[in-house]
Assembly symmetry: C2
């Protein structure tokens, strides 16, 4: 296991307080020793959970001291009581840190429409605070406590030299279901010891989301709770300037990109993912919508499940995505095998291509839809019987 | 079995010519003894099959003599050869009827990207012509020959008295997969002996599609071949006027509505359908988009599979549909049980509501999203492991 390069000046804890019947960790606390700059990107769903409403009000900020997250309960569609509970979570953390409630951010994930068991949550926050630490095991504990139906932990980090000085970035995420662009049911917390202005933090948060988390989908259902937070406490004393911002942005993406891919790979029931790369569209936006539409088609996703080189499903999905395409210049290549060229099928060996798909966990699809300059990509999971079984048995 | 009320002046045949390996019927022929007025509504996919391109050019028309349909092969994404083959099908029918090729319409459905086995198809057309008849069994034979993965025959008819005179309407359809609004992989042929102008035929064809076939979905994948044709040969000598057009329109919908519902109910792997009725939206268009988005969510569809009254999935899908909703005035009722009222959950017994869902083959969902005047509905199937198994095994 690779070592996490933890940014300076943060402490972490993850504990179990009994929100989850499984007794797995369900309260995560990340604390900054000094006030950090923070910005957020949130769900575009109009039905938003209480914690998202609170984070939206409080970011961007220059005075964030902590992020508290609970898993096992989304605190969504819970009315006024939900607001009161989310505020109480922040208040309790603030009290323990001798800070203001406005300096605490909150995230929740889990079932919708149930009130939080606040006595348990309060106890959990106290326990988390008592066990805060700055070691890798503490970070991993905090990362594990935000998971729900995820099969694996999602963490990444980077150490980058900017102008001869070192900064670090680390991130944790959770995914699994209700995954769609526009910040599906996913939570991500990115921390760095670089020194950012709130304006920079907001810009980086958005560009990172657009390049990574907004390009993956599992089931196309945009959640009520999606949140990506970026915290920068400046503990490295390295400021981000015009000269190094490109390197910093690349480092941010190097940390978040594998987490975004892990979200799709760890989609409920997923066995395989597909990277749909679209080019030749009239604009990047058009290419993105086409890639996303192909990735969302249940027929494309079940073809992937069966390792079936069913190019007709991909080409026809591109045709109904909306943006103008040129059917007579449309070409499709899967794992290096060209299956469709300028609007007509090529002669290819189905068994060979099927085996090429079977050999990959991440299948490469190149779709040319015309001769325009627009290109983008989208990562999607396959649709398996396990997804259906899991989600038709999941209890309200 | 109810008797089909066949319009006057049409003959029918369905035969097997070997396009389908199963040796089931795969060539369907419907002939008008006199030239009929005809109009069509077609897929909105930009990747369109050769037969759709030909029908688009030929409708509206006042001189249609026949509709020839093959199943088992979509003749889609087949390039210039596909055009040539579709034209040859029309030409062959025209020759047998001593008519012009322009007076023949053609539909195809089945796998994408394979060339039609034209010697077999030509033989099939000859055989169908030789067995044309005007009896119910002939009509049913023609209806069976357009089916693909459908589990059941889809036919309906009506006899209506307009101004004391009788007209008849009959229709056949096929569905099963790639079903989405905007004329998914579905074919429908509606015939009547009423007397319509081409303008009337076009108007009725569109309004019927909007009210019925465009409100059902199975997998949200818009096909390359969707076609709804309306033929009116005037054999009843009853013209449609301002005075009786409302009654005629209602009769058309009474024939096509059950076929549209049958498409969803017979969706690949479907066990249950859901009628999502949205009201309180800002416009009917908004309501339609919300109802369609709820119906398309895999999480909503799998909740239906599990008879799970998981209202959070429905409410959150409404929240990401796009149109403005009022979360604080959002209410949800399933099978008469109110589960969510003005943005907060109600106290309800999950087992009771789950049983109420289980008791129905068509589940009634009422979703209020605000206080606007807009309302619409959408019919969707559940998502079962059978759908996934079927579509991940389906060979290119």
């Amino acid at each position: 296991m690779s070592t996490i390069r933890l940014p300076k000046g943060y402490r972490f804890a993850g504990v179990a307080c009994g929100i989850k019947a499984s007794e797995k960790p369900d309260v995560s606390l990340v604390v900054c020793d000094v006030p950090a700059v923070a910005s957020g990107v949130y769900t575009q769903n109009q039905v938003v959970a209480a914690p998202v409403q609170i984070c939206r009000q409080r970011t961007p900020s220059e005075t964030i001291r902590a992020v508290v997250t609970n898993s096992g309960n989304a605190n969504a569609c819970t009315g006024q009581q939900g607001q009161t509970d989310a505020l109480a979570m922040c208040q309790h953390v603030a009290g323990l840190l001798d800070s203001k409630p406005e300096s605490v951010l909150v995230m929740s994930t889990g079932v919708i429409g149930h009130h939080l068991p606040m006595p348990k949550v309060t106890e959990g926050i106290q326990k988390a605070h008592d066990s805060l630490g700055d070691q890798e095991e503490d970070f991993l504990g905090a990362a594990d406590a935000i998971l729900t139906t995820d099969l694996s932990r999602k963490v990444a980090s980077a150490e980058v030299s900017l102008d001869g000085q070192t900064i670090r970035i680390a991130a944790m995420a959770k995914g699994a279901g209700m995954i769609n662009p526009n910040m599906a049911t996913m939570l991500a917390l990115i921390i760095t010891d670089a020194k950012l202005t709130t304006k920079q933090a907001s810009r980086f948060a958005k560009s990172v989301a657009d390049a990574t988390f907004n390009r993956v989908s599992v089931d196309g259902h945009t959640s009520t709770n999606d949140t990506q937070l970026l915290l920068a406490n400046g503990a490295s004393e390295v400021a981000i300037t015009e000269a190094n911002e490109q390197a910093f942005q690349e480092a941010l993406i190097s940390v978040t990109q594998p987490l975004a891919i892990a979200l799709a790979a760890d989609g409920e029931g997923a066995e395989r993912i597909m990277n749909v790369q679209v080019s030749g569209a009239q604009s990047d936006e058009d290419a993105e919508l086409i890639a996303r539409t192909v990735g969302a088609s249940p027929l494309v996703k079940t073809a992937l499940t069966g390792c079936d080189p069913n190019w007709g499903r991909i080409v026809s999905a591109a045709g109904y995505a909306g943006p103008k395409i040129d059917p007579d210049r449309t070409c499709l290549t899967i794992e290096g095998h060209q299956l469709y060229h300028n609007g007509a099928p090529t002669a290819f060996d189905e068994a060979t291509v099927s085996q090429a798909i079977k050999d990959q966990k991440q299948v490469d699809v190149q779709l040319i839809v015309g001769s325009g300059p627009g290109k983008s990509n989208h990562i999607t999971s396959d649709l398996t019987t396990s997804y259906v079984t899991f989600n038709s048995e999941y209890t309200t």
